[in-house]
């Protein structure tokens, strides 16, 4: 088949694959696994440019230029990330990354104040907070969080110690490459967390206490949950 020897055919495939990839992550909202919502308009602009390029390049298909080995190599390079996406089916950053980057148990940034005044929901007797909010409270307004009942979601990282784990959420500024792991120590009774495993998403309900300057949660209930629509904190 002559078309399979035409370099233009492979160029079109590259544009088509990337167009479909960007369309897929935009329509499914999967782009949030990788980048902040801020980038969504840029992805849409990228999709529009790709559509125009694809139309113009398709018109050139009748021109024949024989593919050489370097064109094949380029094609393989372009295919690599797409294949990885299809095979690995990424979900969210694992706790492995948190260990490599170092878990931050103190949070200090200029948006602390903003994070303190975000709307706080109440669930029964518990205040629903994010790890970022809890760390921000404990740093700037400890009286607002010490001895208070809180409900917080995150991923489990179990270390060596029994009946303890670190609850982790990743804070991102632009994309997963800059994700900073935020963590809170959780202490639980053996019967509360019998089957807890690493990497599981859970909601911890319990009392927050500041001990030796660090915040800790004494869990009363731990329930397994699905990963939230937005896996990261911003």
């Amino acid at each position: 088949m002559k078309i399979f020897k035409n370099v233009q055919f492979y160029k079109i495939l590259v544009f088509l694959f990337y167009l479909l990839f960007f369309l897929f992550i935009s329509l499914t909202g999967n782009f949030k696994i990788f980048v902040k919502k801020f980038y969504f308009p840029y992805i849409i602009i990228g999709i529009l440019i790709l559509i125009f390029i694809l139309v113009v390049e398709t018109k050139k298909l009748r021109k024949f230029k024989k593919i050489d080995v370097y064109d094949i190599l380029s094609f393989i390079v372009f295919l690599f990330p797409i294949l990885l996406f299809l095979i690995v089916k990424p979900t969210t950053l694992p706790t492995y990354v948190a260990i490599k980057r170092g878990i931050q148990t103190e949070f200090s940034s200029e948006d602390i104040l903003k994070s303190l005044y975000e709307k706080i929901e109440i669930e029964g007797k518990y205040k629903k907070l994010t790890i970022k909010q809890i760390l921000a409270f404990s740093k700037t307004k400890p009286e607002e969080i010490n001895n208070k009942d809180v409900a917080v979601e995150g991923i489990i990282y179990k270390g060596e110690e029994k009946e303890k784990f670190t609850l982790i959420r990743f804070l991102i500024t632009c994309c997963a490459a800059d994700a900073t792991p935020l963590g809170i120590e959780v202490e639980y009774k053996a019967e509360t967390g019998k089957e807890l495993k690493n990497e599981e998403w859970v909601k911890v309900k319990g009392k927050a206490k500041i001990e030796e300057g660090k915040i800790k949660i004494y869990a009363e209930e731990i329930e397994k949950t699905n990963p939230p629509k937005d896996p990261y904190l911003y």
């Binding site: 590259v14 980038y39 440019i49 990885l84 492995y96 200029e110 800059d178 900073t180």
Partner: protein, 333 residues
């Protein structure tokens, strides 16, 4: 020459064939021994998940900017005549470098997008010093990056330090390494010489954009792969431990910024988390990354001649190191 090229091509063909056969053999062997599910376990391993997410994050962030940059570059190529462009830009290499470093306010593209634009600007005849300083400064000297730096540090001093050192470095390197002949910098693309007949200007813009995307894109993938390998497997603490000494702290932050390949809009937030480092090291970290991160270095080799890229990288690295040392004496670390 043609003979050598043919031999090289045949060698690469053979290597590709051997790799393909090996892969098929491994997959068949796993299937035959009923261990194909082992492959699934490898694909689900946290390390591969982390590597894939970081790689795709860099690409999803970078590709739209490469496309936008390629579109701007294609538009400059097709719609703005060379003579007009030369008139717009001063011939003096010093003024041109200063002007180039502020062009980020006009074309505020991210680190990946500035490469096709600066290449096209130089090709269109602006003095190379202007193109080089634009290439180095744009990702830093633009409103979004400076504002995000302020948000991360809430310190006007850090924002000013980042701005002024980036400006000095880009202008100095721009003047230092710019040749009088643009052909000493620009890599020739075969595609640029393929002229299409009977096509509209609108189509021509997108043909140029598509070519730029294909050339820069594959290098961005290679660079992002290296960056995500380093980012996934090398702990950041390894760099922060050796950063306690003033000189080592500047050097190690320069190397860390090259490895991490962070976006210039985000690096300030990562830098602000290095609480026990001197301010000057954090500033150098935020300048070095947008100028010479590993993913950018690989794309530089796609756009410019290798000799020029080597000169550019050495000059930027040394200039930033010296500025860091001087800065640490002025502001006391």
């Amino acid at each position: 020459m043609e003979m050598i090229e043919k031999v090289r091509e045949n060698f690469v063909k053979k290597v590709l064939r051997v790799i393909g056969i090996l892969l098929l053999f491994i997959i068949f062997n796993l299937w035959y021994s009923g261990k194909l599910s082992e492959l699934y376990k490898i694909f689900q391993s946290p390390k591969l998940q982390a590597f894939t997410i970081v790689l795709l994050a860099i690409l999803i962030e970078g590709f739209p900017f490469i496309l936008i940059g390629s579109l701007i570059s294609g538009t400059i190529e097709v719609l703005i005549p060379e003579e007009k462009f030369k008139k717009l830009f001063p011939k003096n290499r010093f003024i041109s470098a200063i002007l180039g470093s502020f062009l980020g306010f006009l074309f505020p593209v991210c680190s990946c997008g500035e490469i096709p634009v600066s290449r096209r600007l130089i090709k269109k005849g602006i003095p190379p010093s202007g193109g080089i300083s634009y290439l180095l400064a744009t990702a830093i000297i633009n409103p979004i990056t400076l504002f995000s730096t302020y948000l991360a540090f809430s310190s006007g001093k850090i924002v000013f330090g980042r701005f002024i050192l980036a400006f000095i470095c880009s202008v100095f390197v721009g003047i230092l390494i710019s040749p009088s002949d643009k052909n000493e910098i620009l890599k020739e693309y075969e595609e640029e010489h393929e002229h299409e007949e009977n096509i509209k200007k609108f189509e021509e813009i997108f043909i140029h954009s598509g070519n730029d995307f294909l050339i820069m894109g594959k290098y961005l993938i290679v660079g992002a792969t290296l960056a995500s390998l380093f980012s996934t497997f090398i702990p950041r603490d390894a760099f922060l431990l050796i950063a306690k000494n003033k000189v080592f702290s500047i050097l190690s932050m320069q190397i860390l910024s090259i490895i991490l390949s962070l976006c210039s809009y985000a690096d300030a937030f990562v830098a602000s988390s290095f609480t026990y480092l001197p301010s000057i090291s954090k500033i150098i970290f935020m300048i070095s990354g947008p100028m010479m991160s590993i993913s950018l270095i690989i794309v530089y080799f796609a756009a410019f001649k290798a000799k020029f890229v080597k000169k550019l990288l050495i000059s930027v690295f040394l200039t930033l190191f010296i500025l860091g040392i001087i800065g640490s004496f002025i502001i006391g670390g």
